[in-house]
């Protein structure tokens, strides 16, 4: 390759107009030829680029380390058990959803029944009597409950007396 071509290529290079192929030509030229003095500095630049590529490398021990780490992860992240767990979880989720669905409706139907029950009484007086009876029943049950509580009060009164006597 004649010097004039190299000078021309270099000018293109400085102006950032060279193609990768032309840059490769320059690299090759400077690595293989004794260059004239005016190109010594430039030659050193290109040789520096190549030296960088040549010296700054990772060795085989690095590969081994990475591959070892990767194979340990490979077994850890095997997809099959992962998929199995996902399948079981999905089943559980579906079961839970089904249970929730079959458990939720009853309260709704009960409410509907209450509405229907109101409708069964056409005579207001009858309805009134029934309600009164129901309320009386509740009231009597409540009274019974309070009686028990009174007994309990006696017990706590006894406790208080014992405490105060101490």
């Amino acid at each position: 390759m004649d010097l004039q071509t190299i000078d021309e290529l270099l000018e293109k290079y400085w102006n950032a107009e060279t193609t990768p192929e032309e840059e490769a030509t320059l690299r090759q030229y400077f690595s293989e030829h004794e260059v004239p003095r005016h190109l010594q500095g430039v030659a050193q630049l290109f040789r520096q680029y190549q030296a960088d590529q040549h010296f700054k490398k990772l060795d085989a021990a690095f590969d081994d380390k990475v591959l070892k780490e990767i194979s340990s992860r490979k077994s850890r992240f095997d997809w099959q058990p992962f998929l199995r767990i996902a399948a079981v979880l999905t089943l559980f989720l579906m079961a839970a959803l089904l249970l929730k669905q079959s458990l939720l409706p009853p309260p709704e139907t009960e409410q509907v029944k209450v509405v229907q029950a109101e409708d069964t009484y056409t005579d207001p007086r009858l309805a009134y009597e029934q309600t009164k009876q129901a309320l009386l029943l509740v009231s009597s049950l409540m009274n019974e409950g309070t009686q028990h509580i009174e007994e309990l009060e006696k017990f706590s009164e006894a406790q208080e007396t014992i405490k105060s006597e101490k």
């Binding site: 290079y13 400085w14 102006n15 950032a16 990768p20 840059e23 490769a24 003095r37 005016h38 010594q40 500095g41 430039v42 050193q44 630049l45 040789r47 520096q48 680029y49 030296a51 960088d52 590529q53 010296f55 700054k56 490398k57 990772l58 690095f62 590969d63 380390k65 990475v66 591959l67 780490e69 990767i70 194979s71 992860r73 490979k74 992240f77």
Partner: protein, 174 residues
């Protein structure tokens, strides 16, 4: 992606990733850690990244992000860069390599180091790693025009500096 594919298509990118991380971090061990993290992430997300246009560009972007995160966490400084340069210089061929060449190499490293970061990154991705403009744009997340402008400026600066080195006779007297 199976392990064999990973070995053939992703793992060989390691040196580019390493140099890229080194450009940010300036420390070999830290850069190595970043590359390892990137490769393992690439493996963990292999199903997802397999469809990507360029897995290499994805790895480079991740390398950049993880390196910047490391820098931000700031438990070490970039002064390590200088130590690394010294070690690198001493790794040259033989003690018989002329001190002249040695000096110029150091000078060139200094010239590159003095470029604004974006210019330096674009230049190195192009001239050392051989990436196309579009790939550089993807990796650095800057638009194509920015790539071209930064490359042009970096090379112009180098041209001026190298000519002045020559004029001061640091390589050889004309």
């Amino acid at each position: 992606m199976v392990l064999e594919e990973f070995k053939n298509s992703v793992l060989p990118v390691k040196n580019k990733l390493y140099r890229f991380a080194l450009r940010f971090l300036g420390n070999e061990d830290e850069a190595k850690d970043v590359v390892q993290e990137v490769l393992i992430k690439a493996w963990d997300r292999r199903e997802e990244i397999q469809g990507y246009h360029s897995i290499e560009a994805w790895c480079m972007r991740l390398t950049k992000n993880l390196s910047l995160n490391k820098l931000k966490s700031g438990h070490y400084s970039r002064t390590m860069m200088l130590e690394e340069e010294d070690r690198y210089d001493s790794a040259q061929d033989s003690p018989y390599t002329s001190t002249e060449t040695h000096d110029v190499l150091t000078n060139i490293q200094r010239l590159l180091g003095r470029l604004p970061e974006k210019q330096r990154l674009v230049l190195e991705l192009r001239d050392i790693e051989g990436y196309a403009y579009q790939e550089i744009s993807d990796i650095l997340g800057i638009d194509l025009n920015q790539v071209k402008v930064n490359l042009f400026r970096a090379r112009q600066t180098l041209k001026k500096q190298l000519i002045s080195i020559d004029a001061y006779g640091l390589t050889n007297n004309r």
